[in-house]
């Protein structure tokens, strides 16, 4: 495995949750390397910590111990940098000093929100589309999130064109003005994939992407993921189904909070 080609490296990840009076240890020292262009499936029984691991890899959650490096950058440092930036925003609110300090913190540590926006794309089991937005708006959401109103007006043409291109690619070209409730499960998941790919992320994280679909529709979604991977997209997918996991290039089994094999 080439170190230069490494996109994601997790070392000694530990995570526990408090459930009532007891503390449940979900991850007990997980180590994981993902190469650029890989399609990795993480398989495990329900409650084995697959989703927790995926959330930590995508910076939606923080580990109690251990580190995640994305292209050599430590996500923990990004979390710290973002916290400082948020604190500066609350306390200084406006002004040149606030801007200088926030820019400095961003340069020094990176920004976790920017990481989530540009580096990773999430696909969830239950699609998680916003009910109030139509298909096109849901797809362009990550592009909107990274821009101010004025910035958006400059980029809107590009963003709409990119979203339409993705939606056409996923056979949703006729559905761009539809609301999520007007779509089938498979269509919703394809919109969710299009949204995840909007900002051309280096890493696509899919949490049980077929878990809520029938086998034929689920197979269609896996076809989409396979095609994306063939085009060079790095994908980490979580599933509890062996047959689905076999569609990936590499399968990792998570059991009892550790990776086996």
């Amino acid at each position: 495995m080439s170190k230069d080609n490494l996109i994601l490296q997790a070392k000694g990840l530990e995570k526990s949750y408090k459930m009532g009076a007891t503390r449940v240890e979900v991850l007990k020292g997980v180590n994981l390397d993902v190469q650029k262009g890989e399609f990795v499936a993480i398989i495990g029984a329900s409650g084995s910590g697959k989703s927790t691991l995926l959330h930590i890899l995508g910076a939606l959650d923080r580990p109690d111990k251990g580190t995640v490096c994305f292209e050599g950058r430590d996500l923990n440092r990004m979390f710290a940098g973002t916290k400082i930036r948020t604190w500066i925003s609350w306390t200084l609110m406006f002004g040149l000093l606030s801007k200088i300090l926030r820019t400095g913190a961003k340069e020094l540590h990176g920004d976790i929100n920017e990481f989530r926006n540009k580096m990773v794309g999430f696909v969830f089991q239950f699609y998680h589309l916003l009910d109030e937005l139509n298909v096109l708006e849901n797809t362009t959401l990550p592009a909107m999130a990274s821009r101010s109103i004025f910035g958006w007006f400059g980029a809107r043409k590009w963003a709409n064109s990119r979203a339409e291109e993705l939606l056409n690619q996923f056979a949703l070209g006729e559905r761009i003005k539809h609301k999520p409730y007007q779509l089938s499960g498979g269509e919703r998941q394809r919109v969710a994939i299009a949204r995840a790919l909007m900002n051309e992320p280096r890493l696509l994280l899919a949490d049980e992407p077929t878990g809520n679909l029938d086998s034929a529709t689920g197979s269609g979604i896996l076809d989409v993921l396979e095609k994306l991977n063939e085009a060079g997209q790095t994908i980490v997918m979580v599933t509890h189904d062996d047959r689905i996991a076999r569609r990936a290039g590499r399968v990792i089994t998570l059991a009892d909070g550790r990776i086996n094999g």
Partner: protein
């Protein structure tokens, strides 16, 4: 941009937000009406008091009055900043209509009608002689008789609909005015022989000042007649007050201060005179201070209303808080999704603050427009209620007001709109803060759906 779009969609697509908008609109509607009416009443009341008193009053609370006023009046009239000066006699008397065996206590005010109209709004309060003030004390039925101007409630009957029964000309009515003349030392002038002065005057006009106490108890008499009745027309003549009006552009306090300085100098000049001790009782006051006991009560009422409606504002904040709490509880998944695509905590706060701003803005707009429309028709509505149900907001047989004030002040409207939006932002703050404390992973769990 997504914040604006989402805030707009939450506003339009979530039925619960209609309740928040409605709550804000109702509060704004009520506050606009009450504040406009209260502000109008206080403004009218102040204006009427200002018209009654002029700008500045040099006077004594003592019924004895003060002497040497002619010199001071001359001095005042030489000053460029003064528009008008009026010497005034004020005292109490008994009023007995001729041919009737009854009498009642009244306040008498002795004035020169022309001079008093220059210093105050007296001329505008007259009915028959409004455009002929110099003949205010000349009854139209016999100009040679001694006339008097009665407060309108002494002369005419007031109806419940705030109107009066006017006549084309004043009815011939003789009124015996009985006064207790006082010496410069405050004793009854004719204690041994004739302790009272009585003279008959004829109703020549009435004065409608809009001030209940004035309209119900004041009788205006010719200056020299009132001076004689009160025992102030001796060798050293006395009066009770001098009412002064400043020229336009003279600031009230500055004008009063100048007169105060002039008075101090005048008093010092007269210190050797025999009745100089009377000058010690004289004060120089602005009309606001002179009428403070009446105005302060009204202002206090206005402040109390303001405080009460402050509580209405707190209720609005609470309603908005509850609505936002419910909405954000339903929208926790959206927050998780937005965080997963890179929205920061500040972005989430901005999203809900924008939403609160729209709720507040829309509610305030609806409330202001509704309140404005209602105010435009408030007097017609009151008339209709009175004609059909006999109901009046203010019983006009008791309160000396005409139409309900409905002049909307842009400043008051702006303040109410800003307060409504601020209330919504405050109401949205707590749930928004809770929203950003949610971990994205918690909100995206299956059991959160």
């Amino acid at each position: 941009m997504y914040k604006l779009i989402l805030a707009m969609r939450y506003l339009l697509k979530r039925r619960i937000t209609y309740f928040a908008v409605l709550a804000v609109a109702l509060c704004v509607f009520i506050v606009v009406i009450v504040m406009t009416v209260m502000t109008g009443l206080v403004r009218d009341f102040k204006q009427k008091n200002h018209d009654f008193a002029g700008d500045c009053i040099v006077g004594s609370e003592s019924l004895v009055g003060f002497a040497y006023y002619e010199d001071f009046v001359k001095e005042l009239e030489q000053n460029q900043f003064i528009e008008g000066v009026s010497e005034v006699i004020k005292s109490y008397a008994l009023l007995s209509p001729q041919g009737r065996d009854v009498s009642r206590g009244v306040e008498i005010i002795g004035i020169d009608p022309v001079r008093h109209s220059r210093a105050t709004g007296f001329g505008r309060t007259l009915y028959y002689r409004k455009n002929n003030v110099e003949k205010a004390f000349a009854p139209s039925y016999d100009p040679n008789l001694l006339g008097c101007v009665l407060g309108i409630d002494l002369a005419l009957d007031r109806h419940a609909d705030s109107g009066y029964s006017y006549y084309d000309s004043p009815v011939r009515l003789g009124l015996a005015i009985t006064c207790f003349p006082l010496t410069a030392r405050g004793a009854l002038a004719g204690a041994a022989t004739a302790p009272v002065n009585t003279k008959t005057f004829y109703y020549s006009d009435h004065s409608h000042s809009g001030l209940a106490r004035v309209d119900d108890s004041v009788v205006y008499l010719p200056f020299d007649q009132a001076q004689a009745l009160c025992g102030m027309a001796g060798a050293t003549k006395r009066i009770n007050a001098i009412h002064v009006k400043f020229k336009g552009g003279v600031e009230l306090q500055a004008g009063c201060d100048r007169i105060r300085r002039l008075w101090q100098e005048f008093k010092a000049d007269k210190s050797g005179e025999s009745q100089a001790y009377l000058l010690d009782t004289v004060t120089v006051q602005s009309w606001k201070v002179y009428r403070r006991t009446l105005i302060a009560a009204m202002e206090k009422e206005q402040t109390m209303m303001g405080v009460m409606f402050g509580f209405v504002g707190i209720v609005t904040v609470f309603i908005v808080l509850v609505v936002f709490y419910m909405l954000i509880s339903h929208k926790s998944k959206d927050i998780g999704v937005l965080r997963s695509i890179g929205a920061s905590k500040v972005d989430i706060i901005e999203l809900f603050a924008g939403f609160a701003f729209m709720v507040g803005g829309l509610g305030a707009l609806v409330g202001v427009l509704g309140g404005w429309q209602f105010l435009l028709k408030i007097n017609k509505i009151e008339d209709w209620l009175f004609e059909n149900f006999g109901y009046q907001v203010w019983d006009r047989t008791m309160f000396a007001i005409g139409d309900i004030p409905n002049e909307v002040s842009p400043k008051v409207l702006a303040a109410i709109v800003v307060a409504a939006i601020a209330a919504c932002l405050i109401g949205a703050l707590v749930p928004s803060w809770q929203a950003i404390r949610l971990k994205p992973t918690e909100t995206l769990q299956v059991n959160q759906l």
